[in-house]
Amino acid sequence: MVDELGSRERRYIEAYLELESHSSAAHGLRERVIAAAFAEAEPAGSRRRSPRRRALLLAGVGLCAASALAWWVGRTSLVEAPAARLPDQAPLIMRSDRPVHETSAVKRGDAKDRGAPEAVPEVAADVAPAASSTSAAPERTRPRATPAPVVPRVTERRPTPPRKPPEAAAPTLSTAEVALLDRARRLAQHGQHEAALARLREHASTYPRSVLATERAAEEVAVLCRMGSAAAESARASFLAGDPPQYLRVRVTKACPP
């Protein structure tokens, strides 16, 4: 009895498959999926790191970078301070007599002109007043030149893959909306055309922008035709002029032969 489905059950399955085949994926989904898959993917063969582990790793990298910067700045200060005594570096020392904000503004332009790294003159200018005291220079400059290490928040959440808003994929249908249209169709099948029309108009007033508007219009034309209404012919012509889908065109043409 149930080793295989019978032809009757198979017909149900085929109806389901047929209806299901009208469903299609959102346009452009493929490239979105590829982008999401490879944005999330780790290099081949590597293990996925937990968010906590990744945050710690980032913190470590940040600390290393900050230490390296501090070391480099300190070293530069030590080198620049004695060098400031040299005649070709005199303008820098001269400018150090001015207020700090002024020297900083001028030195940037100089640094660019000379092709030197921007950070170097800034520190050198700041330490210029203490240039005669080489031992004090690095101690004064370090706290100022060393930026506080940027430690990422451990609680920061891992970014999620780009996702479309759930509702964007397909216009939503409410159960009540589908049921109302189904009820109208059943009434029409049982010859209760007036009641069917009333349901269809109720549907139109309740769901004026329904995704089933075309189906509703087709059903209305078919009902009008079955009723032999005088408005049927014009409704039919108007419906067909609106370039409806082929299956609805066939349906209306069947119900209202020209």
Partner: protein, 191 residues
């Protein structure tokens, strides 16, 4: 017991074995897999209880997981079995987050279709959809893969990680229920 009957879906041709190497898919190979199988993944998401409006999210999650879990590729001989194995977990997680009021409606494109002999294809399709919704998860998975996808019992067993005999047992039980439901409906409608 005969094997699950092939359907038009099954005749679309399933490549033998998982067609990508063990290092995992590249963007190019993933595009190929996507083109071949995204429809399979999408329709089965809906059959497993995901509303239409959310099916694309599930499709995306399945393929993202496929790339992430490339180490699993070697364990499967069939790409469809692998994708379904991923998908059933993705769907189970997704269903927990879903609004239960979300509509499980079938696509509207073919609404109002009745055959000449009065067989209402829409109602029939909705009957199958309702049947799938009410069926318990283990039987639903087997029924979907066997009757709607036409997959073989060994392939289903691989996808679900169960014994082939278990596949047959669950399939028999699901068919019994479906048979009873259709009979009751036909009697009620005087068919």
């Amino acid at each position: 017991m005969p094997s699950p009957r092939p359907t038009p879906r099954a005749s679309q041709g399933e490549p033998q074995g998982v067609p990508i190497d063990a290092r995992g898919p590249t963007p190019r190979s993933l595009r190929r897999i996507y083109d071949e199988h995204h429809a399979f993944v999408r329709r089965n998401a809906i059959r497993l209880g995901i509303p239409h409006g959310h099916a694309d999210d599930v499709v995306q999650e399945v393929f993202v997981t496929l790339v992430r879990r490339s180490e699993a590729l070697g364990e499967f001989r069939s790409m469809r079995a692998l994708l379904f194995a991923i998908e059933r977990r993705v769907c189970a997680n997704y269903r927990r987050k879903l609004d239960r009021k979300a509509v499980q409606a079938l696509p509207a494109a073919a609404l109002l279709a009745v055959d000449d002999d009065g067989f209402d294809r829409i109602e029939a399709a909705h009957t199958v959809a309702r049947f799938l919704r009410r069926l318990d998860e283990p039987r639903r998975e087997v029924f979907v893969l066997a009757e709607l996808e036409g997959m073989s019992a060994p392939e289903i067993a691989e996808a679900l990680g169960i014994n082939v005999n278990t596949v047959y047992t669950r399939l028999r039980a699901a068919r019994q229920r479906f048979f009873r439901l259709v009979s009751a409906r036909e009697e009620h409608h005087g068919g």
